[in-house]
Subunit: 318 residues, 2 copies
C-alpha cells in the first residue's frame, strides 16, 4: 500500500482530470470557492468538513461551538472571495451515543453563525452512526459589487497585508473566530484587491497557495508578522517561538491580501477596518516559493508547515 499523500496532491490529481467549461465554471477547484455561471447571475460555492479529533475535540469544545465553527469556516471562504453569503446547507454524522439535546446544540451553533452573518441554513442531512462526530456545510455566495477575488491575481511589486493577529488559535479562537465577511467587502470597496485568501492552514501554507496559484514568489518580514497574544502564551508552554506559532498554527481565519504598493500604503494609513489591525508583512516578487527575512536581514525559505490535512503522518495540528 502506498502512503497517503498530501491533500494538495489529490486536488492536483482531480484538477488534472477535470475539464470544466470556463463559460459555465469561470472559477473551478483550487480557489476558496468555485464560481458558477447560472445564466443571469453567477454564484459561488464552497464546502468544508469538521471531523472530531482532527478539527475539534468534544472534551474542549461544546457542540454549540462546533456548530458555529462548521458554518464559520465556510463563511471565511466567502470572505476570502469578498463575496456575499446567500445560504448554506449542513450535514451531520452524529455519534449514536449522543442525544437529541446534543444535536440541537449543534444546530443552535449553526444558527448562531447563520444569523450573525445573514446566511440562512436552507437544508441539511442528519444521520447517526457508531463513530465520532462529522459535520460539514456547503455555502452559496454571490459576487456583490466586486468581482470575486481569487488566489491567483498577485503580481510582482504587490504588497502583502494581513488582518488581525496570528497564531495560537488552538487556545480557543479557532472555535469562536469572526469570519471576515464584512471586512473583506470593506477592503474590496476601498482598494483593488489583486489576490486574497483566508488563513485556514497557516500563513506559511496559505501564502504558498497564493504564490503558486499566481505564478510568483513572496517574501515576508519576520519582524512585521502580527503575533497574537495567544501565540505568546502558547510559546511559553511548548518551547516553540511565538513567530513559529504565528506562521504555522493555522485556523486564524484572518485575511491575507495582495494589493498595489499605493493601495497598500493607503489601506494601512486609513485602515477601513476600524479596530481590526491591518499589517503590511511583505511583498510579491518574480520567481516561486516563499521567503522569510529575519530581523538581521537573513533570508530563508518558508516551507508550508501549517495545518495540512491528509499528510503522511495522518495528522492535523489543532
Amino acid at each position: 500500500m502506498t502512503e497517503p499523500k498530501g491533500e494538495w496532491q489529490l486536488i492536483d490529481w482531480i484538477r488534472g482530470r477535470t475539464r470544466l467549461d470556463p463559460a459555465t465554471v469561470p472559477i473551478g477547484p483550487g480557489d476558496d470557492m468555485a464560481l458558477v455561471d447560472l445564466g443571469e447571475s453567477g454564484c459561488l460555492v464552497t464546502t468544508d468538513t469538521l471531523l472530531e479529533g482532527t478539527h475539534f475535540r468534544l472534551a474542549t469544545a461544546t457542540p454549540r461551538q462546533v456548530g458555529y465553527k462548521a458554518l464559520a469556516v465556510s463563511l471565511s471562504d466567502a470572505a476570502a472571495m469578498a463575496a456575499e453569503p446567500v445560504c448554506a446547507v449542513a450535514w451531520v454524522g452524529l455519534p449514536e451515543t449522543r442525544d437529541m439535546a446534543f444535536a440541537e446544540q449543534l444546530c443552535l451553533g449553526l444558527s448562531d453563525a447563520a444569523a450573525r452573518f445573514g446566511c440562512p441554513i436552507v437544508g441539511g442531512d442528519v444521520t447517526s452512526w457508531p463513530h465520532p462526530l462529522a459535520i460539514g456545510t456547503s455555502l452559496v455566495a454571490r459576487p456583490a459589487g466586486v468581482a470575486p477575488v481569487r488566489r491567483s491575481g498577485a503580481r510582482p511589486g504587490d504588497v502583502l497585508l494581513v488582518t488581525g493577529d496570528l497564531g495560537g488559535s488552538v487556545l480557543g479562537r479557532h472555535l469562536a473566530f469572526v469570519p471576515r465577511v464584512k471586512e473583506a467587502r470593506l477592503l474590496a470597496r476601498a482598494a483593488t484587491l489583486h489576490a486574497m485568501i483566508d488563513l485556514s492552514d497557516g500563513l506559511s501554507t496559505d501564502l504558498g497557495h497564493v504564490a503558486r496559484e499566481s505564478g510568483v514568489a513572496a517574501e515576508v518580514e519576520a519582524a512585521a508578522i502580527p503575533v497574537s497574544a495567544d501565540a505568546e502564551r502558547l510559546a511559553r508552554t511548548d518551547g516553540r517561538s511565538p513567530l513559529d506559532h504565528a506562521l504555522n498554527d493555522g485556523e486564524d481565519f484572518e485575511l491575507l491580501l495582495a494589493v498595489s504598493p499605493e493601495d497598500g500604503r493607503r489601506l494601512v494609513e486609513d485602515n477601513p477596518l476600524g479596530d481590526l489591525r491591518l499589517t503590511a508583512i511583505g511583498r510579491i516578487i518574480e520567481g516561486s516559493g516563499v521567503t522569510i527575512i529575519g530581523a538581521d536581514g537573513e533570508r530563508r525559505s518558508l516551507e508550508p508547515c501549517g495545518y495540512e490535512h491528509f499528510r503522511s503522518d495522518g495528522g492535523a495540528s489543532s
Copy 2:
C-alpha cells in the same frame, strides 16, 4: 440521556426555529432541495452524506461505486424537483488506513456521475481521520423550463404514479441506480406535476412525506405496486414478502408523482419515458396518513417503515 429521536423530529425542530424570508428562500428545509433567489435567477441547493457501515459497506461496494452513489443521491434530489443540475462540491473524511489509489477511485466514481449527468464537481474538501469513510456532496441546480416541483402540492383527486420497479435495491441497484434527472424533466414537460419526491427512504416513508407536506391523505393499491425482480429474489431468502420489500426497502431512487387524473391517464398511456415503466399506484384523498388497499379490498394503515436514519435503534437498512 434521552433517546435519539427520528431525523424528522430534528428537522421539525430546526424548521420551528428557523425564520426564512420567503422572498429570498422561496423553498426552505423539508423538500428535496431548497430554492434560493439569487436576484436575476434562483438556484436550488441540496446536500447528502454517505457513511460507511450505514449507506454502504466496503466489503461489498468498490470505492468507485461509493463515489458514484455519493453524487447520484444528490442528483436524485434534483430530479425530484424536475431541476437541471448545475454543479456539485464533494467532501471526504478518508480513513487514514486507505491510500491515494483508494481516494482516486472515490473521485473517479464522483466523476462518472458528474460526466453522465452534466454536473461538474467544482470544489471539495478532503481530510483523513482514523475512522470509517464518510463522503458527501452538495449540489446546485436551477429551475429549467418548469417551476421546481415540490412535495407539498398534491391535491385530493390526484393520482399517484411511480417510475420503475421497487424493492431489493440492496442487492446492488443502490450502488448503480440511475438518478431520474432526464425522466423528471420529460414528465414535467408532458404534464403538470402537482407534487414529486424521489424514493430514497422507501415508498411507505416517502409517500408519507408527500401526504404530510401536502396536508392530504394517500391510498395505494397493493396489487398495483411495481415489485422489482430484486424484491422477489430477496423475499425468497428472508421470508419477507416481495411487496414488503417494494414498500419499505428504500434506496430505489425512482420518482413518485401526483398529477390530475387526466394527466395520469395520459402519462400512463403515452409513457414519455420509453422503456422505463410508469405505473399508477393510487390516489390522493382528503384527510391524513397513508392507506394500503389489499387485493381483497381490505384497507390498512401503511406506516413509514422504510429507510430512516437516526432512529432510536441507531440503524439503517442497507
